[in-house]
């Protein structure tokens, strides 16, 4: 699978604007409707914000990558970092809406690590029906509840669960070897 667009930036808050702006190229190139692009932007912004806020604690800085691949009528987006991994954070400054929001916007969400142990949030967006337009009230009501995303790994059966405290997920499979992304969260009812 050839990645159509890959952006690599330092994981800083101000760089999220570059990612958002670059995603507009999808509209230019593939004539996406404005609402679908808005949903994609919002979900990717949330994933990037998680990287900026959580991936590199104690003022550290590292890379943030966004990869977009068009496959038929689906857009696959991966947000990747080389940080500490996804884990519960009781002292999180966030409201815990990040992952539920992503889950409500995307067709599927998968959490895990790639073969180099980099943390990844993989999102798939349907470009045909685009049924998952953001419903703020639903996302708020569902925070920390049914939207828990799940990732599986071949060794150790890692499980990731949405954390109601910070919206990230607890990834217990950090040392379990290369991840494959198996189970996905269907978000059709969000």
């Amino acid at each position: 699978m050839t990645t159509d667009m890959q952006i690599a930036l330092p994981a800083r808050a101000e760089n999220i604007a570059i990612v958002r702006h670059a995603l507009g190229a999808l509209e230019d190139a593939y004539a996406l409707d404005a609402q679908t692009l808005s949903d994609i932007r919002l979900a990717v912004t949330e994933a990037c914000t998680n990287v900026v806020v959580h991936a590199y604690p104690d003022g550290g800085e590292g890379p943030m990558e966004v990869l977009a691949t068009m496959l038929g009528d689906e857009l696959h987006v991966v947000v990747r970092d080389e940080g500490t991994g996804i884990s519960p954070r009781p002292d999180s400054p966030g409201l815990g809406l990040g992952l539920p929001l992503i889950a409500s916007l995307a067709e599927s969400v998968q959490l895990g690590r790639d073969e180099r142990q980099r943390t990844e949030v993989r999102m798939t967006f349907s470009l045909n029906n685009a049924p998952h337009h953001y419903d703020g009230a639903a996302a708020r009501n569902g925070a920390g509840a049914a939207q828990a995303a799940t990732a599986t790994q071949p060794v150790g059966a890692a499980t990731a669960q949405a954390n109601p405290t910070d919206g990230r997920a607890a990834d217990t499979g950090a040392a379990a070897g290369p991840a494959t992304f198996g189970a996905t969260e269907s978000t059709g009812s969000q």
Partner: protein
């Protein structure tokens, strides 16, 4: 009203040959330059450069993928384009001629050089620079 300080930034972009090359490159370059307080007319110049690159560079890739390293800091903009097939960076420059304007890459930039691909990779890179 106080003016925001310029934001110096850099970004790496890797694009598959296809419809995203032009829009993605133009968008990333324009926002990086705008945040660095590059004057509007020079952002326009940079867009012409991006148009020329996206029109011709895909014909010179090694593997169907183009890498762009964009940076704007200290009043200086640099754009590295790679990895281009051997001896094709020169051809890419020669192809970037607009009727009535001349060679866009040479006219719109103040630095233009060809380097071996970074990190010991195959092919070569075209490096373009512009002060603002």
């Amino acid at each position: 009203m106080t003016e925001e300080p310029p934001i110096e930034s850099s970004a790496s972009l890797r694009l598959a040959k296809g419809p995203l090359v032009g829009p993605a490159l133009c968008r990333v370059v324009s926002i990086v330059l705008a945040r660095a307080h590059c004057p509007m007319d020079q952002i326009d110049d940079a867009m012409l450069v991006c148009d020329a690159l996206s029109a011709h560079a895909p014909d010179h890739t090694l593997d169907g993928q183009l890498s762009f390293a964009v940076s704007a800091r200290g009043g200086r903009f640099e754009l590295r384009v790679g990895a281009l097939a051997d001896a094709s960076a020169k051809r890419l420059v020669a192809e970037s001629v607009l009727p009535g304007v001349g060679n866009v890459l040479e006219r719109m930039t103040d630095e233009l050089r060809i380097e071996p691909a970074t990190a010991g990779g195959a092919g070569e890179e075209l490096v373009l620079g512009m002060s603002f």
